[in-house]
Symmetry: D2
Subunit: 348 residues, 4 copies
């Protein structure tokens, strides 16, 4: 057997960190050598996450997020599950120490530091790295990811919106000015923080929109849609919180370009994703359901055409912690290190 | 004290029937004299719905849905919670016997029998009554409802979409060709039927779109929007099922008419609903949450304006069994019989 | 119409306070004149609880919990939904000012100040009042409650355990040394506090015991069981948290006294509760379900006999915020003020 | 790499069948060669379970449950996820054709055909095999399982009750006449059948006992407890349904044997399970939580001692579809075929 790749998770005590632990502890080509958490430093993973007890590696103690200490473990790659602003700083330090970095924060997703400041409210902490960072959608940019030192793993909402739309925009099948996306996210998307509005009794039996009209994720969504469309695109995006632990369902609609046969939608999706390991096409009339993708790296995509309005409807479903965060980051990691794309990710 | 109005519920064993029972058993101006169910005939209400035991009236036995027998109870009004097609027939028979009828099915919601046949797949069973039936949105048509013999109480999705949009269309504030509505409904909206796809384990931890692109409720939605707009309107409507017992959250978007000040949106809503007993305006930036309206007759409405796209976003929340079905029917009943609009409906 | 009784709720911003607001805002014989919350003082009820908007009385502003200010509103009765220790102090002050007090905390439930200190970890703050306080189980002590100035409204777990057991112990039908009670509570029982362990994602899809082997509620449970049995009783009590908003299901078992016909169980329950407005007997083999009692003042009780082990099994279900807290307090209030026991409580 | 063992799943369309598919499709030493379902015969697994699409093996078509056809696939082992009564017949046929059989039904769990008839209501369909069948609790009978042709994999409730109790009874630490077990099960335990009582709206926000006082699983529970105690044991067992997809939490109590130091409880558990791959001891005061074991083969066990009553309290948590069904069957399979006990089961 080949040697395992030594990995670190920086910021491993939240929900995304827990998902990365879940995946990397049992990834056949990975040896987890470091997991950091200021709050839990010194405790074994298993004490903080009883779910991991008696799994190999679960007695690894959390450490402080010190770049030198992380590098000293021999880690070759680091996954960052940190708040924006904080991630950029440690990414810089780890890159200097020779690690590959897969950053799950928003810090390197935007190529334009001004847009970052507009949406995140502070100057970009490491603008020099923006050119180098690769926006980590493996289905769109596998080649660049394979060569990357620094991958900016996409946000959960963006992944669910971008993958259905990009092939259609690239083929000019829809009118970019008419895009409306509605997403429903599980509560883990809001993070693991002591906040009354996230209590069980406040979220259970509750459905609500939030963050309108200018959710932060719009910045990366529109950046990537603009690239695909070859023109500047702005969209309407309405996120909702629904009472499930994880999962995002997204319904997107846009006008079919005049003169286009609706069947071209299915063909463009098939051409883009027919062979993709983690995109499952449900065909015309298929509606994606989050229950089929939770705890996997799959994204399911269905579509319909409404002849009455001339609009295309796309439904997609992914796990916000999986394809929307942790497992998509592992998919990029696999590409960077030349592993099979599906390594450690073929579960149901 | 004034005499109570004798009421019947026809088709009282499903979820809408149960909601009507819940409301009418304790309505201070109502005496429930009949509740029908072919399946449960002969059993007391309390045996079928243990939740009602030891409430006054709960020992009333279910009876067969026979129009003569219903009329013989002295019922002055009948609420029909029956499947479409079935409702029209019994409505006809009860009207002939002098009862007022509040029909919660789709049978009398459409003024055009051809549209009915297009959306419901069979010829309309009582087209002669279509002219007379009043589409029962009390906030829009209180006057007509007060005079009605036959009220077609609106569907759950339509109520949540129409109330926010009608004032805006009437004032030409938005472009009707750009309307996109996404709704998330609790599972009770699918009815109480033995169907594997509605099992707890199939719906819990699941979010999914369904019924696209041409859900039946589009027919009444577009009929009423067209009246408000003064022109023929078609919209894109995407319903979703989310794991809550009841409640509908709807997010609707449309382009603001060129040259209109966004503040006009708030003013139009305020002007239409500021004094409405059961519409609560959340103002600019407010997002409606189903948890605030379940088991009530309230609908909450918030709005936002996205300057980047020129679109208005409206969020609304109601109980699909309440304002979307049972309690809205009681609101119409109150109007028909000259009771305070809020009689029996002021609970939290 | 008779004049309404002026009421205050002290500590109205938590889940129990919210339930009291829900009940008292629409209680036909109550005028809510004061609701206190240090945190929310100055804001109208409707701003803190959007669910109450447009209900009569919902614009009342929260006030500070100052006894003089409360008395100045003309309040004749005060409901205290405060932490133990805090409640006793304000109860004393309000009693001095002539109000009747219904205390929903644990402060006056125990007649023995030493037991209080043992279970609550601090000396009793107002031992002089212990003799006077009436343990407010209306089905057991309606007479004393009618005469009381100070009612100690029982805890949620105790109510669900005591009501089934007391008639059996009074008739010596079961062996008190063999009692084992298991309860499953909705998450609202843990209160409305910003605590990671109460987040949606931590409670959803989770079932767990906690607080063993000596939950605080054991003190009042055993006090009341001992009175019923005429001897000192200790029991095993295992509480669990389950992912529902509200509701407690309790399953209790004990050995049938030798020589007793099992049918005597049903007879004793029937004799005790056949005419009780809020106890519903499900008979032999009936299993209580929380879904039938949520948001009501009902407690449902079923029983079974296991000939193989000689044990009786009692199942009960109530709403932890209703019969286990808010509505039971209102039931006592009704008795104190000579209202019908069911006033304001007959809903489903 | 060694050759994979060819496996069949008979009755693969229910919840237990789906769990077996989930495990065996990705088990590194298994090749799934057959999955049967009368209802779905001819369809690929992926069409019935969209969750499995694009996993290796997911295009295998369901076949009829014909023993010859199953044998013709070369299957060396068959997992039976069939109703009792049906399982025995096909087990017999498959054993005759040389397959190892791991039966997840109740058909071979009881060594006494009379007890089977008493609890299951029909004569045992294959009594000749009862002597040979091994009750498949790997932590208790690994040796016999390794040699078995026919393993009767235990029920979900029994596993959660037996594993905590057996070591204590073997060491005479508790009085077997005083055992009371309360279990709370996720809804998948009721199976995937179109039944109104299992609808989302009937189970969500509901907690209830059922099946008292003589649930079928008592037969195997008491058989195994009697073996451990060396005397005939009957217990009180109260199962409950709680609104989670999967997971069982069990709380068991019994009197500590007079004169025994409570610390002996912890020691006996540690001695029995300290080295067990899939039992995790939470120690004194630890309370097991289903959320830590769902979708794993782990069972977590905590304990407490109540000096006031002299009772021991044991809490355990497992996945009813995992350690309570599918993954425990795979654990036995691993033993039978000489694989590492943890093969295919080390996930979180």
């Amino acid at each position: 057997m080949t040697e395992r790749i030594k990995c670190a998770i920086v910021g491993a005590s939240g929900y995304t960190g827990q998902e990365l632990l879940r995946l990397l502890l049992v990834h056949p080509q990975v040896e987890l050598v470091a997991a950091t958490s200021r709050q839990e430093a010194g405790k074994p993973l298993s004490a903080v996450f009883p779910r991991f007890r008696k799994l190999p590696g679960a007695e690894l103690p959390f450490m402080e997020p010190d770049p030198d200490a992380i590098a000293a473990t021999g880690a070759q790659a680091a996954f960052l599950a940190l708040p924006h602003g904080v991630a950029a700083e440690i990414a810089t330090a780890l890159l200097e120490r020779g690690l590959k970095v897969i950053d799950l924060s928003a810090d390197f997703r935007l190529s334009d530091a001004d847009v970052y400041e507009e949406f995140y409210g502070h100057p970009h902490p490491a603008p020099a790295l923006l050119d180098e960072a690769v926006y980590g959608l493996p289905e769109i940019r596998a080649g660049a990811i394979r060569e990357a030192r620094l991958v900016a793993s996409p946000g959960c909402y963006p992944t669910s919106i971008l993958l259905p739309l990009i092939p259609l925009l690239e083929a000019s099948l829809i009118d970019p000015a008419t895009i409306v996306a509605n997403s429903m996210s599980g509560v883990s998307g809001a993070g693991k923080k002591a906040d009354v509005s996230l209590l069980f009794c406040e979220c259970n039996e509750s459905v609500r929109a939030y963050g309108i009209p200018k959710h932060r994720h719009l910045s990366e969504i529109e950046q990537e849609l603009s690239i695909a469309a070859g023109e500047s695109v702005v969209i309407t995006f309405i996120p909702h919180l629904v009472p499930v632990n994880s999962g995002i369902a997204t319904s997107t609609t846009a006008k079919l370009t005049e003169g286009i046969d609706p069947a071209a939608i299915g063909e463009a999706l098939e051409s883009a994703y027919g062979d993709a390991a983690f995109v499952r096409l449900l065909g015309k009339g298929g509606c994606a359901d989050t229950k089929n993708v939770t705890r996997t790296n799959f994204i399911d995509i269905g579509w319909a055409h409404d002849a009455r309005t001339g609009r295309v409807i796309l439904t997609s479903a992914e796990d916000n912690l999986g394809k929307g965060a942790g497992s998509q980051a592992v998919q990029s990691f696999n590409l960077i290190f030349g592993l099979p794309e599906t390594a450690g990710l073929q579960t149901a």
